[in-house]
């Protein structure tokens, strides 16, 4: 086990998959010569050459479409969006081509493509560059949506995503690239898609958190432990398909649930999980499902306002106290 950053873990995953399967290639803005806007693709141009690590023009719709076409003829493209904010320009190719091709071709064309890059809030990059778009993509049948929160998950899930025969939206978090964690050395280490992980076991309240909210929820759980409240923290890791069974089983044990996310609250993944809990665990709830989401406003540029717009440890603690009837 080596302790490495999420950035290095992603880089290892790309290197190992490029080595393992010559059909895999990388494409995106600044991925090659500049080695990636966030240096996730560091050293890969040098190692694999410009046929497999390709710089694109600033044309998201264009190179996303190129990727879909390449996937249709048997390659396994990994398309980097410098941030997922720019994927908005490519949604026609992602939603109308990648997601639907297998269905509309009557099963003739799998699209083994990964669209990856950072999403969510960064530091003071304002409204257009701080968006959590996972609920957009999770909405569409035909797409898988993956969001790792640790170095090991980042590596294991990216490798599984590249090996998967369907289009995968792989959303990293810009603030988390430097987070370190232990990662198994095994070059065949993978984590299956669609499997949640209990990041911390507890008995009183279930907290479901993903991506940036996982470390925040774990800190809240630490603080609550001192008050005698035992929190179970679950990271779904894959948003679609969602491992709802693990969450429901936890609620059956704790009878209370808090959902934490960075994205806006309306029609969010939290909203979806709430509905599932209501349908599947109604008789086990001792308190209403409590959601903690990002503010329902475009992300402010001002530092103090930006801090207020992203859920923090205190908000999660308050939510847990509320469902545990401690206030």
């Amino acid at each position: 086990m080596a302790t490495i950053t999420i950035r290095e873990a992603l880089n290892q995953a790309l290197r190992e998959e490029l080595t393992r399967d010559e059909k895999v290639f990388l494409m995106g803005e600044e991925v090659a010569a500049y080695q990636g806007a966030y240096k996730v693709t560091k050293g890969l141009l040098e190692e694999f050459g410009d046929k497999r690590v390709i710089d694109t023009p600033i044309t998201e719709l264009g190179f996303a479409g190129l990727g879909v076409g390449a996937a249709m003829v048997g390659l396994r493209p990994v398309v980097e969006f410098m941030t997922f904010n720019f994927s908005i320009l490519a949604t026609d190719q992602i939603v109308n081509s990648a997601a639907k091709m297998l269905y509309m071709s009557g099963g003739q064309y799998n699209i083994p493509i990964v669209f990856r890059g950072p999403g969510g809030s960064a530091f003071q990059v304002s409204s257009q560059h701080s968006q959590a778009l996972e609920s957009w993509y999770a909405y569409f049948p035909g797409l898988k949506v993956v969001m790792p929160s640790t170095a090991a998950d980042a590596k294991g899930l990216l490798k599984s995503s590249i090996r998967d025969d369907d289009p995968v939206i792989f959303i990293e978090q810009e603030r988390m690239y430097g987070n370190k964690g232990e990662v198994p050395d095994d070059p065949d280490f993978t984590i299956p898609l669609g499997v949640a992980e209990v990041k911390r076991e507890g008995t009183d309240v279930t907290i479901v958190a993903r991506s940036l909210m996982v470390p925040v929820a774990l800190k809240a759980a630490d603080a609550l432990e001192k008050e005698g409240v035992s929190c179970e923290v679950i990271d779904p890791r894959t948003i679609r398909p969602l491992d709802i069974d693990t969450i429901v089983e936890s609620v059956k044990k704790t009878n209370r649930i808090v959902l934490a996310e960075e994205s806006h609250p309306i029609c969010s993944v939290n909203a979806e999980i709430s509905a599932e809990i209501m349908e599947r665990a109604f008789d086990h709830l001792d308190a209403p499902v409590k959601r903690v989401s990002g503010a329902d406003v475009p992300m402010p540029y001002a530092k103090n306002l930006e801090q207020l717009a992203v859920p923090d440890v205190q908000q999660i603690i308050s939510a847990v106290r509320e469902v545990a009837y401690l206030d």
Binding site: L285, D286, A287, Y325
Partner: protein, 427 residues
């Protein structure tokens, strides 16, 4: 003063949670009230400012009395306050005020103008007539425990009954409900298992205790594989006979016999003494869920015991017609094996042959058999007088490996009690 418990008539202010001049919003805790049952939180029903406290901490007020005024900061509340002393003496007045004015139409003088500020009332829905507010989990837990949610006080927001309230209630009254029930039959603990013979009683196997095994081992060396002992009781049959006449006069087609009544009573008594409705199986004792009674029927060259299944669940008329039908087919040798095997207990009646009393041999693996003698008028002493009663002698044979003297005697006592007072069958 709001009604915070179903039986509350007045309440004492334990504590005001707001001072005069404090802003209050709807649903916010306003005061703690001691009711006849508990200290309850009262919530504000309106937004505004707590302008005036009329009943101080420690003071009591009857239901409906004005205890404080919530109004806008600059609102004129003098009319409400002027009216207050009058209301203090007439507790019912504010309740009238809450009703539509139509009920006061016949009054000669117009009703006093309604104050804008309303007396604070509890917002909790868990009041005497209000809808219960309860978490889904608490509702399910209460239902499973047979707990009346209306007996609980919710500690959640708005008086919501939550898990901890149900848990607290359950720990307060351990098994109160079952204790109050009059048991008409008892159940042996253990996992119920299904029988191999179709239609036969389910049973529970319980490991034979060390003492049972020792008793079994010792007794079989003395008296063969099924060590019998016998208990005899005299039973006054006047009421049972009267009941039989009464039933048959209702409908001659019913043709209930005394033996049918005995079968029914045996089943009822066995359900109260499950340790007798059992079978010794060497390593364990098998307790049956229901009573399948073998009825000994004499046939041309022998004896056969057709079985009345689940006699405890059947009516007298069902038992009568079933026994008649089974006996007929027994005599014509048309019984199927499953109709004469797998009883849990037997009854043998030689009364029709004028036998006063006899002992019957247990049909293994059953635990016992009742030998029924003839019903004959005999002089007996009742209240110091010699009177004539219909007396029937019953002798119970018990398998001593599972039934001890006292166990068998208690069963026979119950059997006698029911047979002498057959109304027990319908109680």
């Amino acid at each position: 003063m709001p009604k915070l418990s179903p039986t509350m008539e007045e309440g004492q202010i334990a504590r005001w949670l707001k001072k005069e001049g404090d802003k209050v919003s709807m649903g916010e805790p306003l005061a703690e009230i001691d009711t006849d049952k508990a200290t309850m939180e009262m919530q504000a029903l309106a937004n505004g400012v707590l302008r005036k406290i009329l009943v101080k901490e420690g003071e009591s007020a009857p239901l409906g009395q004005l205890i404080g005024v919530i109004a806008e900061p600059d609102e004129d509340i003098s009319s409400v306050l002027n009216e207050a002393p009058a209301k203090q003496s007439a507790a019912a007045a504010p309740q009238k005020e809450a009703q539509p004015a139509s009920s006061q139409r016949e009054q000669a003088t117009p009703p006093p103008p309604k104050p804008e500020a309303k007396p604070a009332e509890a917002a909790s829905g868990n009041g005497a007539s209000g809808r219960l507010i309860v978490s889904p989990l608490a509702a399910r837990m209460a239902a499973e425990a047979g707990l009346d949610l209306r007996s609980l006080q919710g500690s959640g927001p708005g008086g919501r009954i939550i898990k901890r309230d149900v848990e607290a209630a359950l720990s307060r009254e351990p098994a109160a409900a079952p204790a109050s029930k009059q048991p008409t039959f008892r159940v042996i603990e253990g996992k119920a298992q299904q029988p191999l013979v179709a239609g036969a009683s389910a049973y529970r196997d319980v490991p034979a205790s060390e003492i049972r095994r020792t008793i079994a081992r010792r007794l079989v060396t003395s008296l063969g594989p099924v060590p019998h002992f016998f208990l005899t009781s005299e039973i006054e049959m006047d009421r049972a006979a009267e009941m039989r006449r009464g039933i048959n006069s209702l409908d001659p087609d019913l043709k209930i016999s005394v033996n049918d009544i005995i079968i029914k009573v045996t089943a009822a008594a066995l359900m109260q003494h499950p340790e007798v409705n059992a079978s010794f199986q060497d390593k364990f004792v098998r307790y049956y869920e229901h009573v399948d009674i073998g009825v000994a029927v004499a046939i041309e060259d022998g004896l056969i015991t057709p079985v009345v299944r689940s006699a405890d669940l059947k009516s007298l008329s069902q038992i009568a017609s079933e026994v008649r039908e089974l006996a007929e087919r027994a005599r014509s040798r048309k019984l199927k094996p499953e109709e004469y095997t797998g009883a849990t207990f037997s009854v043998s009646n030689l009364g029709m042959f004028g036998i006063d009393e006899f002992t019957a041999i247990i049909n293994p693996p059953e635990g016992g058999i009742l030998a029924i003698g003839a019903m004959t008028p005999r002089p007996v002493v009742r209240d110091g007088e010699v009177v004539v009663r219909q007396i029937m002698r019953v002798t119970m044979s018990c398998d001593h490996r599972i039934i001890d003297g006292a166990t068998g005697a208690k069963f026979l006592q119950t059997f006698k009690k029911i047979l002498e007072n057959p109304l027990y069958l319908v109680v």
